[in-house]
Amino acid sequence: MSTQLRGLPAAPGVATGVPWIYRPPAPDEAARLSITDAADAAAAELERLAGRLRVDGRPDEAEILDAQALMAIDEELLAAAREREVGGLAPAAAVVAAGEAVATTFEALEDPILSARAVDVRDVAGRIARHVTGAPPPQLERRSIVVAADLAPSVTVELDRALLAGIALERGSRTSHAAILARALGIPAVVCVPRIVDASAAVGELAIDGDSGLAVLDPDDVDRDRLAHAAAAASSRRAADEAFRGRPLATSDGHRVQCMANVGDPAEAVVAFAAGADGIGLFRTEFAFAGRATGPAEEEQAEAYARVLRAAGDAPVVIRLADIGGDKPLPYVAIPEEANPFLGIRAIRLADTHPELFATQLRAILRASLQAGRAASIMAPMVADAADVAAVRRLVDEARSAVPDAPSPRLGIMVEIPSAVLLADQLGATVDFMSIGTNDLTQYLLASDRTNPRLAERQDPLHPAVLRAVARVVEGAAAHGCEVAVCGEMAGDPAGAALLVGMGVEELSMDPTAFGGVKRALADRSRTELEELARRARELGSAAEVRELVAIR
């Protein structure tokens, strides 16, 4: 009997093999080399592996290994290790402990790129320890799926590529180096698979689908067939999507929909326009606030926003006010501990206690607009009712009196709290646009915590309740000429996009990688067909039934 675990897709393709659980070797008492000599050997080994990556045409990953070679001979790491050795630890254990201490401090860094380097630090320490004891490097013996909590790129490189069928990680992310390298080398990979390390220990075979994120333990013939079909379908889908990437987003009868991008920093905005975005539908500004001791200065923010406006030319740009909350505390925003941060003091609810945070951000947006000679649209997250809109408008008005020459901004709200759905006909009279955040709306509407993987099945935004909510917002807004956009993941899902356009949504904002698939999904259906499809979908009983009805992948 097979078991399925659902993670996230990281590198496309299907792979089957014996699970090979990678754990850094446990340091033993043996000491064939001194810590210093072992460190030199580890550094030389890492440089050699970096060279192998350069030959493979992967200079970016090679540089990670070069940096690791420097870590291996880092005097502070080695001094800490020797200190522990003097304290009575065996030399290999001393190196591992010293590396662990550094890795832990890395993990505490707010910057996700740097904190993700903890895996490289642990790899370096484990490597030095291995050279201390003289143990051989890890080796695959059969065609294997490498299973680990997380994986340093150096391990992927040193394993025998002919036997390395796939990678399944309990942690990691699509943007981790393990995932990037797997994609580059054409090795299927899944990440964030719950319990995969423990679950793999007792199985003889493991199959992964790097397009869907699925891991199947002890797959049977039915699983195998299904995976093979899925792999073939995914590969032809990717090729077909690619052909649509540069075309406009429109239905078969020429009804044009704005194809907007969700971006998280100015550099991503540049990438989005290169990918053919009609504008920026959601510019998340949290990047400016994370990873620092004090709040970002007005000039610093203004410069970042102006860069996005310049990248956009005349295209629309929607800047969302900071969505900060108790789930990711910042040193300069004191939020008392909350039992439910997602239902707590979050986003504009912070304006009561930290008005200066938003006042500064609003002035920065206006200054950027003034600099760029064009207005940015301003969007407030977590608006519950008209009182919230009024509070935001007061803040905007105050900022405008501080920057009187700035062009007048359009003001909009995120619709993600169910109360805003029910009040859409009221709120539509008070703002220029609404953008539905389907991820949070689904979480709140279905009372299903987004961060709880066991509720993953209950997070599908194609649920009829979410569809009805969207229809209600469109209807409520239409009476006032208020525009409606969708910026949740649903907009980037071809099936979701088809339903949204069928319900009258005129702007879809998504990750630029989704452009091709969404454009292709809309191109062979008329607006009338989509309207009928959405009408029928709203009458169904579950998200699964809606997916079956729409049947676009």
């Binding site: 420097l70 740097l114 380097r117 550099a267 620092r292």
Partner: protein
């Protein structure tokens, strides 16, 4: 004591690659330069020769760092590293 302050403009701050470039340059200098991330923890300084120390400062784009060194060669050493950081450590940091 020679000191210089410089803003890090690399898109992802001092992550692995630029940190390695920085540390290699520091290792080639005759004296040790201390680095502080003023935007994050002004009280903590690390050796510019320690890649783990430099990465552990959590320097993100837009952060200001201080470089400091003692002795007669301090001024030149600090200037060398400050210029290297300002130039983007081999990464494209674009115009303003």
């Amino acid at each position: 004591m020679a000191e210089a302050e410089v803003e890090v403009r690399n898109p992802s701050g001092l992550h692995a690659r630029p940190a390695a470039t920085f540390v290699r340059a520091a290792a080639a200098l005759p004296i040790d330069v201390r680095v502080t991330n003023l935007s994050r923890d002004p009280d903590k300084s690390v050796s510019a020769r320690s890649v783990l120390g430099v990465m552990g400062l959590g320097v993100a784009r837009g952060h200001r760092i201080r470089l400091g060194a003692d002795g007669p060669e301090g001024e030149a050493a600090v200037a060398t590293l400050a210029e290297l950081v300002a130039s983007g450590l081999g990464e494209d940091v674009g115009g303003v």
